[in-house]
């Protein structure tokens, strides 16, 4: 009980205002850069990069993750990890399924065993 005074870290007001200022500057930056056509994916990558910096500032200082018990950070990063897995793998599926079919590797139209599978009731011993 000797560290009663330290148990809740009180972040100085100046930190909150600095973070707020940074968020405003980054918001202005994201609006300005969106007016310029950088070509291809550059605009979306830049906008998401700035948004990620803004989100990190909010998480670290407004949500105190920078000062907190690291368990909270690990929990949150877990959700980010699964968000990335979710979107990446769905995108890979949607983008590349056609190509696999075109190359005949797994085309349902060409695959005899697949046709048998959907037209007949497969016997328990059939190999499909």
């Amino acid at each position: 009980m000797s560290n009663q005074k330290h148990e809740h870290h009180i972040i100085p007001l100046s930190t909150y205002f600095k973070v707020f200022g940074a968020l405003m500057v980054l918001t202005a930056l994201t609006v300005i850069t969106a007016q310029v056509d950088l070509g291809g994916w550059a605009n979306i990558v830049l906008a998401m990069f700035i948004a990620t910096i803004k989100a990190s500032l909010v998480l670290m200082f407004f949500m105190h993750l920078y000062y907190d018990n690291k368990t909270n950070l690990i929990f949150f990063l877990g959700s980010v990890l699964f968000l990335i897995i979710f979107i990446t793998f769905t995108l890979i599926d949607v983008d590349y399924r056609d190509k696999i079919y075109k190359e005949g590797a797994m085309s349902p139209q060409d695959d005899k065993s697949y046709k048998e599978y959907i037209t007949k009731q497969p016997s328990p011993s059939s190999d499909h």
Binding site: F62, M63, N72, F75
Partner: protein
């Protein structure tokens, strides 16, 4: 350290620090499920943007960037006042805590009013989800090639209304909780010794801000 001097300490916690940490971890677990709830919509956005790039580009231009920017500033400012409310309750200044919470609530209301004007305008001109879409003045393409064609504009607005709608529901929910926090602070239930509910409400409110930080560029800016 007897329980009699700390009526807010529940018997199954060793001390108030542990109780505070456990509550916060529970809130973070909830925030994880919130991120995953929104991730379904973000995933839909990425997939459909990938399939219909021109549709997203042209429909994105129909959104009012100024209103989106004002709402971004309003929400970030409300996040600041929420953080300040926690700072003041940590310093036992209940009056300023209530003032900060009130400003947060007011800014949330401003956000919802702007959202209301955006929605009514879109409903009026027919920028609506698939099936209901009837907005007539859309260009057909943004250049040469099949991928530059404007197809199924309703898809964009389905995603727009779902994403901003779910976010708006969170803002309304947050407003209700912030109101409850103001009432409880006014009743003197919180102090620098015990302010976990306000801190946990703050975490929720910042998450709502986080979602908007990504929604704003995705929906309003990248055209």
């Amino acid at each position: 350290m007897s329980n009699n001097t700390q009526p807010y300490l529940q018997h199954h916690f060793a001390n108030k620090e542990q109780q505070h940490e456990a509550s916060k971890l529970g809130m973070w677990a909830f925030l994880v499920t919130e991120v995953l709830t929104f991730s379904g919509l973000f995933c839909a956005y990425v997939i459909f943007r990938n399939i219909y790039p021109a549709t997203f580009q042209l429909c994105g231009d129909l959104l009012n960037t100024q209103l989106g920017l004002i709402n971004t500033i309003v929400l970030i400012t409300s996040s600041l006042t929420m953080a300040l409310a926690i700072y003041y309750i940590q310093n036992d200044d209940r009056k300023k805590t209530i003032q900060c919470l009130a400003v947060t609530l007011l800014l949330a209301a401003v956000f919802m009013v702007i959202k209301y004007f955006e929605y009514t305008h879109k409903i009026h001109v027919g920028q609506l989800p698939t099936g209901e879409f009837f907005y007539p003045n859309l260009p057909e393409s943004v250049g040469e090639g099949a991928s530059k064609e404007m197809i199924r504009p309703g898809f964009y607005f389905s995603i727009y209304f779902m994403m901003t709608g779910l976010h708006g529901i969170h803002v309304l929910g947050g407003m209700a909780v912030i109101g409850a926090m103001m009432y409880n602070t006014h009743k003197g239930r919180y102090s620098s010794e015990y302010y976990t509910p306000i801190e946990v409400t703050g975490l929720f409110w910042h998450l709502v801000d986080l979602v908007w930080i990504f929604l704003f560029p995705l929906l309003y800016l990248i055209g």
